[in-house]
């Protein structure tokens, strides 16, 4: 029996288990690319607009950090600058989670043991997972190239850009193959790989910020840190600007090295074991842990910290970008119109800041959904049953979770607002005043988040089995209505479905109490429905 025996069968198992996820991934990435390319083409229709965009992007450190280096004024180059980082991060994380799911998670749950007792080679499970995931990345890249050509971009550039995205996926597939060998838990393996994604982002951002602007002002030549980041490699392909095809060999080389290393590690460890020993913890529960509130805090604090760091960095950067924003607006009236539509109001910089706060509030909605869905995860796991068999009422249990998610949302809103204010204040000379003003403005978004919490709670109470799907769908609908509704000129009735529509876009407009009170009342009603339904249904169900 060779070490690869059974790989084909296991690959079919991976395909069967993930047939829906893979379909969404393989079709979703090209569709998203197509939609983004179309909207960018609409905003920067002519050479003049793109010249303005390229020059501002090349000189803006914030744009370099978040969008990567710009490579000229070709429409394709602008599309890449606007979409590359988003798409690359998506495929990086999708690939990472998929690898862990089909390797370490199987070991953690014991499924791998069940399989391994059959005629299955040592490397077969890992190889099967990698085959499917690399194939998915390849197929998604092919379709993305087709989509970009379909959006009217030149063939060579489209293929290079799509291959660059696919290359990122392949690179992180290799990295996840290694992290899956290191950590004993799938959570740990995912955390390690996701940390690598984060580090790659930071290295790429640093390399692009430290890079040089070309003589004509429309290009950025990245510094060396971009070259040690798999996320940076995609930019170095220079799609639509004299493609450098050889750069695509880097992710392939990383894949080969990663697979070799993963095989070597798998050879040296026991099934289910890792190279990083799990940490021990306290033998006695600290008094502050021993209540529903204490437990909720314990379960949330890691997630909350991650969100806080991310939002603080993002808020501060967006605040600093506020100053550069004025230049960008001067260079591009179409972009100004788009920003205006999202934020509403006359004063452009305030519209920008309001749009940013609105965007943060939407993002924090994802935190609220994630935090509250813990109750459902606990229910599915069986932990909720153990907890409710103690002297804790259902109302108290669910209420505690809602309260914890709400407090987390308040903290994150405040943090996002204050850091945005600090960033903008530092460049305009009034850090404290701006921090207070934008912190307050951000908090006004809370009622919309309360409605999100209410929606999740109501779904959890009424349709527990559908909690995860329906809650995320609801947030996605709010997101699409908020970000694209005005641009797509949807009817007001449709826009009104989203609670975010009703939040006054402070500081672009004056605050108003009535819509906030109405939102709070709707949230209270939804919460009441959710709690009442939860009290009257079976657990688990």
């Amino acid at each position: 029996m060779s070490a690869l025996t059974g790989t084909t069968r296991l690959a079919r198992l991976v395909l069967r288990r993930d047939r829906i996820r893979l379909a969404i991934w393989i079709l979703g990435t090209p569709l998203l690319g197509y939609a983004l390319a179309g909207s960018v083409a609409g905003i920067y229709p002519d050479q003049e607009a793109r010249l303005g965009y390229a020059t501002t992007s090349a000189s803006s450190l914030v744009a370099r950090a978040f969008n990567g280096p710009i490579h000229g004024t070709d429409l394709g180059a602008v599309v890449v600058a606007e979409t590359y980082v988003t798409l690359a991060l998506i495929v990086a994380l999708l690939s990472t989670f998929a690898v862990t799911r089909h390797t370490r998670q199987n070991e953690e749950t014991g499924r791998a043991e069940l399989l391994g007792a059959n005629v299955v080679g040592r490397y077969a499970p890992l190889t099967a997972a990698l085959l499917v995931i690399v194939a998915a990345n390849t197929l998604a890249a092919v379709l993305l190239a087709v989509a970009l050509v379909g959006a009217g971009l030149p063939l060579a550039g489209s293929v290079a850009a799509a291959a660059a995205i696919g290359g990122v996926g392949v690179a992180f597939t290799a990295i996840a193959a290694v992290t899956a060998q290191l950590s004993v838990t799938s959570r740990g393996a995912n955390a390690l790989a996701a940390a690598t994604v984060g580090l790659s982002f930071v290295l790429r951002a640093a390399g692009d910020v430290l890079g040089d602007q070309s003589a004509d002002g429309t290009r950025v030549r990245s510094a060396w840190p971009s070259w040690i980041s798999p996320l940076g490699w995609g930019n170095q392909v220079r799609a639509f600007d004299g493609e450098r095809w050889w750069v695509l060999a880097l992710p392939v080389a990383l894949l080969l090295a990663g697979v070799a290393l993963a095989y070597a590690l798998a050879e040296r460890r026991d099934q289910g074991a890792g190279l990083i020993a799990p940490r021990r913890g306290p033998a006695i529960g600290a008094p502050r842990l021993l209540s529903p509130t204490g437990l909720a805090w314990r379960m949330q604090r890691g997630t909350l910290l991650g969100w806080a760091v991310g939002l603080a960095v993002l808020g501060f950067s967006m605040g600093i970008a506020g100053d550069e924003f004025n230049d960008m607006i001067d260079a591009n009236p179409a972009a100004a119109e788009a920003i205006n539509a999202m934020g509403g109001g006359a004063d452009l910089i305030n519209a920008y800041l309001a749009a940013m706060l609105g965007f943060f509030a939407l993002t924090i909605g994802a935190y609220v959904v994630q935090a509250l869905l813990r109750v459902r995860v606990d229910e599915a796991d069986g932990v909720l049953e153990a907890a409710l068999a103690t002297a804790v009422s259902r109302t108290r249990w669910l209420g505690t979770q809602v309260l914890a998610a709400t407090l987390g949302a308040v903290a994150l809103l405040l943090l996002a607002g204050v850091t945005t204010g600090l960033g903008y204040g530092i460049v305009t000379g009034d850090p404290l005043g701006q921090a207070v003003e934008l912190g307050g403005a951000a908090l006004l978004r809370l009622p919309a988040l309360l409605v999100v919490a209410g929606v999740v709670t109501a779904i959890f109470g009424l349709l527990p089995r559908w909690s995860v799907v329906l809650s995320w769908t609801a947030l996605l609908v709010f997101l699409l209505l908020g970000q694209l509704g005005a641009v797509l000129e949807l009817p007001q009735a449709a826009l009104n479905v989203s609670p975010y529509t009703h939040v006054p876009a402070v500081p672009a407009v004056d605050p108003a109490a009535l819509p906030l009170l109405v939102l709070a009342a709707v949230a209270a009603a939804l919460l009441a429905v959710g709690v009442a339904a939860f009290r009257h249904r079976d657990v688990p169900s």
């Binding site: 838990t185 913890g281 529960g285 842990l289 069986g382 068999a389 079976d538 657990v539």
Partner: protein, 339 residues
Amino acid sequence: MPVISIGNLVKTFGAIRALDGLDLHVEQGEVHGFLGPNGSGKSTTIRILLGLLRRDSGDAQVLGADPWRDAVRLHRRLAYVPGDVSLWPNLTGGEAIDLLGQLRGGLDRRRRDELLHRFDLDPTRRCRTYSKGNRQKVAIVAAFSSPVELYVLDEPTSGLDPLMEAVFQDEVRRVKQAGATVLLSSHVLAEVEALCDRVSIIREGRTVESGTLTELRHLTRTAVTVETARPVTGLDALPGVHDVHEVDGRTHLEVEPAHLDELLGQLIRFGVRALTSTPPTLEQLFLRHYGDDPAAAATGAPTAAAASGAPSGTAASGAPAAGSSDADAQVDAPQGGAR
């Protein structure tokens, strides 16, 4: 007053009728075995008793209260070990025990430490790294650390080794001594036999049998092997005698306990040289109730017993232990059926 009193309990999940008129009565201070094949509704019943599931119809009372309406108040007075223990993955075992205990209304710290020691459980490990057996120990320690009136245990020992099983049995006896009531769902028949005062057997959502083990034995046939001076005749005509066949001059048969007397009266006329009577093992008892077709399972019982080495094989189900000395088959050879 019974601690648990369930009458005509019905619970449906969609088209599936999980409980179909179930009855269960557990008296104060007893250890009550709750038995039935997989999927027969044991866990559903227990979840209704804990107020986790809502009953469709029927009566259910726990400690004199309604388990659905008075759930929180009741939960201060009972402790629960679920069949499939899942815990908060990032908490340590010690933290999980203290949390569950505190949420229940407090635990006895001295007892907790003693139990940790006896069950040989490392409380500093994260719950996600525990094996099934260790997760079960966490739940057992958390439950027995709380001095409560009722312990509801759903297959609590399915992942424990024999040593830990013994510790578990000690704990059940200890809380019983202290006056607590225990509802014990289990597939470990030796455990049931060693611990339970009474048992209820359920099948397809209904109670099919309830009583002491002795009472239940009355319902199952005793296997008799007899060697006589002259060939035995006339057995087929006797009431309650089944499956008569002869091998090597020995007669094998089965008899319903109520008709043992008539059988002995008949046998004695042929000059009995040796007689072995084997009371039904617990295993036979359950096979009879668990099988798809109860009648077929009853006649099939000797085969099952033979497969497990009938008389001496009773040790497998622990029949000669504790409870079987008061078994009805008093004609049983003193050496417990050994030839």
